[in-house]
Amino acid sequence: MAKLTIDDLKKIKEETTKSTSIRDGEANIKITVHMGTCGIAAGARAVMNALMEEMAEADRQDIRIVTSGCMGMCSSEPNVTVESKEAEPIVYQKMDSNRMRQVFKRHVLLGEIQSDFALAKM
């Protein structure tokens, strides 16, 4: 296996920014599912799969889904962050597939923040 040199990393970074900028073309909303060990153990995969189903149904090109690691609030996992251009990012806590569907339909599609599930504004 080839070792990653600094040049390679630069290239990867370039490629990454290139591909995200293509996708960023009209991306207005970014949804982050936190997938650390804690998140996965608490059910982040089911949340992700529910989100994927909703995305497939909604067929919106301006929404991006990304995964990230633990953000240090393991007791409130699975956490999902919804960021949009107009409003502050909202971190949702203790998500499951039903909560994810509600957040997607209400917050992501209609812009109504679901404060019952929210952990914090960022």
């Binding site: 990653l4 490629e15 591909s19 997938m35 996965i40 153990a41 995969r45 992700m48 799969n49 189903e53």
Partner: protein
């Protein structure tokens, strides 16, 4: 964790954090030899030698080494519980290979679980990374190679949630087929050599 596929998701995320762009996932089951082996290979930056022997101790993990902390500890515990073991090897040129072995028939062995959901999650969250997933049961194989898929589909269609969603379903069907082909030789005998169409 309840399923081995969740462990796999977790360990693969380690590789992604380590800057890998291609990750090989092998799940090998041999019922005749009574073992289950999971191998996860990445081409990331590897693990420094001084940390290698402390990998499975959750308490030496600091924030900066979290990617090799609790996740591997949990997998090691799961393997050892089933008379198996965890081995982590780092290539001289970087890259990490995690091998977990289990006694297949051990009563404490967690089910493999929903590998299709694991793969769909990985594809959705990491469009820039390639995955080569091989699942073998008693010699019969299922292989998913995103490098080939990306070539065939064109550049960006593998980022489309709709495509990934469908691909996930497809993986699930293929794995079920693999299982019913390999796991039920007696069913085949009963049906005069035909497999169940479910």
């Amino acid at each position: 964790m309840r399923e081995l596929s969740l462990h796999i998701l977790d360990i693969v995320e380690n590789g992604i954090t380590a800057g890998a762009d291609c990750i090989h996932i092998d799940v090998i089951v041999s019922r005749a030899k009574d073992f289950l082996t999971i191998i996860i290979r990445d081409n990331g930056r590897g693990i420094p030698a001084e940390k290698l022997n402390k990998l499975t101790d959750p308490f030496v993990t600091t924030r900066t080494t979290r990617r090799v902390g609790l996740g591997l500890s949990l997998l090691a515990a799961a393997a050892e519980r089933c008379d198996g073991k965890l081995a982590v090897a780092v290539g001289t040129a970087g890259g990490t290979k995690v091998t977990a072995t289990f006694q297949y028939s051990h009563i404490d062995r967690a089910p493999i679980g929903d590998m299709a959901a694991t793969m769909a999650t990985l594809l959705m969250g990491n469009p820039q990374i390639d995955f080569v997933y091989t699942h073998a049961i008693d010699g019969e194989e299922f292989i998913l190679d995103t490098r080939e898929l990306k070539k065939e589909l064109g550049d960006h269609s593998l980022e489309d949630p709709m495509v990934i969603h469908r691909l996930g379903k497809r993986i699930r069907t293929s794995l079920n087929q693999l299982r019913s082909n390999a796991d039920k030789p007696e069913a085949r005998e009963k049906n005069h050599g035909k497999t169940n169409d479910r």
